[in-house]
């Protein structure tokens, strides 16, 4: 399940959908990312996301396929919003179903690290000190590199 959408999503409903598809899996892990209300010490009032109408979904589908292959997942879900959002709103949902818990946990972590550094989204944060375009942090790239010691 790969979706790039402006509309809000219901993480509980998405998890139920993944569970229904993941017949025979021994573990499902999920992650929901929310718009933060504070960044670098400044209050955040909103977050706008720009995306590419086709490339973004292609890249995310590729990340999902890599996760399935690498962790032998029976199901993967990645839902990412592009819209003008306010703090507390859900922005991204990732779930992975696998035979055992470690693969499911690791797959979700892996997908998030790759989304942070590779998915073509551009975030502009409205803060008390003005509007700021965000870029992946050095720590995001460090997190991404943790997965490079192994294939793929």
């Amino acid at each position: 399940m790969i979706r790039v959408q402006a509309e809000p999503f219901d993480a509980a409903a998405l998890l139920a959908e993944v569970s229904a598809r993941a017949v025979g899996a021994g573990a499902i892990a999920s992650f929901t990312g929310l718009v933060r209300s504070e960044n670098d010490g400044a209050a955040v009032s909103g977050l706008e996301l720009d995306h590419h109408p086709r490339l973004t979904e292609q890249v995310i589908a590729g990340i999902g396929a890599d996760a399935v292959a690498r962790f032998a997942l029976t199901e993967v879900a990645i839902v990412h919003r592009h819209a003008a959002l306010v703090p507390g709103e859900a922005i991204v949902f990732v779930a992975a179903a696998a035979a055992h818990r470690r693969a499911a946990f690791d797959a979700v972590d892996y997908v998030m690290d790759r989304l942070k550094t590779e998915a073509p989204f551009w975030k502009r944060e409205q803060r008390s000190d003005g509007a700021h375009w965000l870029e992946a942090r050095d720590s995001d790239h460090d997190d991404r590199r943790r997965w490079e010691a192994e294939v793929p």
Binding site: G33, V92, W122, K123, E135
Partner: protein, 74 residues
Amino acid sequence: MKILFFGRLKEGAPAGPVPLDVGDTDALRAWLGRDRPELLDASIRIAVNDEMIHSNRPLGDEDEIAFLPPVSGG
């Protein structure tokens, strides 16, 4: 040729008509970079027809070229 900008690059001037002698992505970047030097930065990646490119590529009239600043997904 259709030229698209994303993220913070949308805030700059849109591209005007591309001269006929601009026939590949290196030449296009250099031509656009005369007015918008931020496009010359190595962190700005290029996709042609929804495909990321990693080296110079010839361009035709029908191509769509996207200029992509560093991403912030998740």
